[in-house]
């Protein structure tokens, strides 16, 4: 049983690490700010869930697990807020998404 939990925990941690890595690679390879943010959100949604899930299995049923669940909850609630602040700030500063150039003017108001 413990071996199983251990294996599952390390699978989650490894997959989480890979997600974070993919997010990083994407943030470097994507063409503009907004598409980079798409890639980076793999890190903070998927990566956070997997890594914290893996640590939870390591911690077992303890106060630490409850704290980890709360941390995950806070992360999932606050990271969209910061993404939104970043995107809004970029738009206000005049960074146009490349998506906009391809659309007819006035198609999206």
């Amino acid at each position: 049983m413990t071996v199983l939990v251990e294996i599952l925990s390390w699978v989650l941690l490894t997959l989480g690490g890979i997600s974070v890595l993919i997010g990083g690679i994407g943030a470097l390879r994507m063409p503009d700010l907004y598409t980079r943010m798409h890639a980076a959100s793999v890190t903070d949604s998927m990566g956070a869930m997997l890594v914290l899930g893996g640590i939870m299995l390591q911690a077992g049923w303890s106060l630490a697990t409850i704290k980890l669940i709360t941390i995950l909850l806070f992360l999932l609630l606050t990271s969209p807020t910061s993404s939104n602040a970043l995107a809004s700030a970029a738009l206000l500063a005049g960074t146009r998404p490349i998506a906009e150039a391809k659309q007819e003017p006035g198609e999206v108001q």
Partner: protein
Amino acid sequence: MSAESSAADSKGAGGNTARPAYLRMLLLALVLMATWLLWSGFFKPLLIGLGVLSCALTLYLVRRMDFFTREAFTLHYDFRLLRFWVWLGREIVLSSLQVARVVLRRRIEVEPILVDINAGNLSTVDQVLLGNSITLTPGTLTLDMHEGRLRVHALTAEGAAALEEGEMQRRVAALGRR
């Protein structure tokens, strides 16, 4: 996010309005302090002192944000929210895989598009929930929310089409229903 919506919206608010401001402050102070104690688990004077300081600072900040004079949002969600989170978790996994595929392709070929989602049928709180859920799912990003319309930046046409199909919106709407 627009500021004018929070004061105007009454659909998502309720319950808490009758309570006077000082009582709500006291209540929040107690909850904050209890959280601190539970979190730290240490009862040394220095750490408790730091806790009191942090609580005072938090109270000062939320007061500056007019938290106590404005109508508070009370969430009426129950176990349905848990079910929504499970569904959202699955969506996050699936769309992460899609984005990962785009990222790891030999050549980066992306055609991001902008779509407008009409969410006028949702209360303000639910609109925020929808906007944040969209942002949380990799591949779609809420840029702006104005008068019930959400401007969404999508990495792929499929992602945009899935949003316009509106399953997420239906699920959020079902959450708000009592």
